[in-house]
C-alpha cells in the first residue's frame, strides 16, 4: 500500500487572484470549471471520515493542506467546522493552509491559532517582481494586500507557531540580490522557491532551450547569498539539496529519490493525481477511473494498480536520468516538468541543466570542508 504523507484538500476551486502563470487556471486545464465553488458539507464529512480511515489503516499520520484555488474563499464558518472535525478525527495530522494572503483577516488568524494550523503565503518578491504576475482579475497587483497579511501574521500573538513561511515562484529575469534582500526584510522564518511550470513542449518562462541555465544561474546566486548570510531565513529547496549532498534526506517533492505519497481531493470529492500535472494537458491530473470519495474508499484507491502506477511515475524513468551521477540529489525534478506529448514523462526534467548547475555550486560550497574520517 502506498503510504500517504501529504493530503491536499481543494476546499475552494476558484481564486480571487488571477496570477498569469497559475497552473490551475492559466495553463490549459479547465477542470476548475466543473467543480463546485466551495467544499460542501457532504463532501467535507466524507473527507473527514475517510482520512480517519486512511490514518488508521496506514498506521501513521500525514500533512493535510488546505489549498485551492484560494482556500480562504471557503469562509470562516466552514473553515472552523472543517478544522474542528479534522482535529477530532485525525489529531496527529498537521493542518496547513497555503494561501495568497489577501483574505487573511485577524479572525482567520485567530481561528488558525486555535487549531494549530500552519500558514504559508504565496509572494514572489518585492512589488515590481510580485506584481508582474501575481495580479487579480482586474490585473491589479496583489503586493500591498499580501504584505498587509504578512504583517498581520507576524504581529499575531501566535506568530511563531502560525507563520510557516513564504512561497515564491522564481522570475529568472529578476535580480536575485534584490529578491533575497526583500525576503530577509519580511522577517519570514523560511522561503521556498519554485521554478515556473513548463515542460519540453512549452518551455518555462525565461528559459530559451533545454540546455539553457537561466534558472540555474539565478539559483546559484541565491545560494551564494544564502550560504554567506550569518542570519538567513531557511530556504527549503537549497536546504534539501545540501542535506542530500551531506548524506541526509530531503522532504520536498521533486528533490532526491526518497519515496513520497501525495493525494489530492478536489472540491467535489474527486480523487486526483498531483495537481501540478494540470500544467501538462487538460485533465493531466485525472485518474482514468475518476474515483470520488462520494463513491469509493480512499484506502482501496491507494492500493489499486492505477494509483500505484501513478505513484511510481514520480520516479524518473528516462535513460538520461538513470545513468546520471546527480540523480540521488536531483531526483529527476517534478514529474510535470518532465512531460512531453511525444514521450510522456520519459524525459529528464526540463530544468536538467539548471539543476546540475545548482548542485555543482552547492557541492563546491561543501568541498573545502569535507574530509574523510581519519
Amino acid at each position: 500500500m502506498t503510504v500517504i504523507d501529504t493530503v491536499l484538500l481543494k476546499v475552494a476551486s476558484r481564486c480571487n487572484l488571477d496570477c498569469t502563470y497559475c497552473y490551475v487556471f492559466n495553463m490549459g486545464d479547465r477542470g476548475w470549471e466543473r467543480q463546485p465553488k466551495r467544499l460542501g458539507t457532504a463532501v467535507a464529512d466524507a473527507i473527514v471520515e475517510q482520512l480517519a480511515d486512511l490514518r488508521g489503516r496506514q498506521g501513521r499520520g500525514f500533512s493535510i493542506v488546505l489549498h485551492g484555488g484560494e482556500p480562504l474563499l471557503l469562509g470562516r464558518e466552514r473553515l472552523e467546522a472543517l478544522f474542528a472535525a479534522l482535529t477530532a478525527a485525525v489529531p496527529d495530522c498537521g493542518l496547513h493552509l497555503q494561501t495568497n494572503g489577501t483574505l487573511l483577516s485577524h479572525a482567520i488568524l485567530d481561528l488558525c491559532a486555535d487549531y494549530g494550523v500552519g500558514i504559508s503565503i504565496s509572494l514572489d518578491g518585492p512589488e515590481t517582481v510580485n506584481d508582474r504576475f501575481r495580479v487579480d482579475h482586474q490585473s491589479v497587483g496583489s503586493f500591498a494586500r499580501v504584505m498587509a497579511a504578512v504583517e498581520g501574521l507576524r504581529a499575531h500573538r501566535a506568530a511563531e507557531r502560525l507563520f510557516a513561511g513564504l512561497l515564491a515562484v522564481v522570475d529568472p529575469r529578476s535580480d536575485p540580490d534584490e529578491v533575497y534582500a526583500f525576503f530577509k526584510r519580511t522577517g519570514t522564518p523560511s522561503v521556498d522557491f519554485l521554478y515556473r511550470d513548463g515542460n519540453h513542449d512549452v518551455l518555462p518562462f525565461g528559459k530559451t532551450s533545454f540546455a539553457s541555465t537561466e534558472y540555474g544561474q539565478w539559483m546559484c546566486r541565491l545560494a551564494d547569498l544564502y550560504l554567506s548570510d550569518p542570519s538567513p531565513p531557511r530556504i527549503r529547496v537549497i536546504d534539501d539539496i545540501i542535506k542530500l549532498l551531506l548524506g541526509g534526506a530531503a522532504r520536498k517533492e521533486g528533490v532526491g529519490v526518497s519515496d513520497y505519497g501525495i493525494v489530492v481531493i478536489e472540491t467535489d470529492g474527486t480523487i486526483a493525481k498531483n495537481d501540478t500535472l494540470k500544467s501538462t494537458t487538460d485533465a493531466g491530473d485525472a485518474f482514468a477511473n475518476r474515483w470520488s470519495l462520494m463513491r469509493d474508499r480512499l484506502v482501496d484507491v491507494v492500493q489499486t494498480v492505477e494509483f500505484t502506477d501513478y505513484h511510481a511515475s514520480q520516479r524518473p524513468i528516462s535513460a538520461t536520468c538513470r545513468v546520471c551521477d546527480k540523480l540521488a540529489v536531483c531526483g529527476g525534478g517534478m514529474p510535470t516538468h518532465r512531460f512531453s506529448a511525444a514521450r510522456g514523462l520519459d524525459n529528464p526534467t526540463v530544468f536538467c541543466a539548471d539543476q546540475k548547475m545548482l548542485i555543482e555550486r552547492l557541492r563546491a560550497w561543501l568541498a573545502p570542508h569535507a574530509e574523510l574520517a581519519a
Binding site: G118, L194, S228, G247, G248, R251, K252, V329, W365, L372
Partner: protein, 50 residues
C-alpha cells in the same frame, strides 16, 4: 540511491570552521536526523510544493 548518498556522507565536517551558518545548521540537522519525527518545520512545509 539513498544508501549511496549515506555511504558518501562526509563524516568529519567541522561545522565551527565552515564560515556558513546555513552549512553548520544543516550538518547538525543531518547528524541528528530522525525521519520518524516530523518537526514543526517539516510538518508545515509539507511535501507538496505549491
Amino acid at each position: 540511491m539513498q544508501t549511496d548518498a549515506k555511504a558518501a556522507r562526509p563524516t568529519n565536517l567541522r561545522s565551527q570552521s565552515l564560515g556558513s551558518a546555513v552549512l553548520a545548521r544543516l550538518i547538525n540537522e543531518v547528524r541528528n536526523e530522525n525521519l520518524g519525527i516530523a518537526r514543526s518545520y517539516d510538518r508545515t512545509h509539507n511535501r507538496h510544493n505549491r
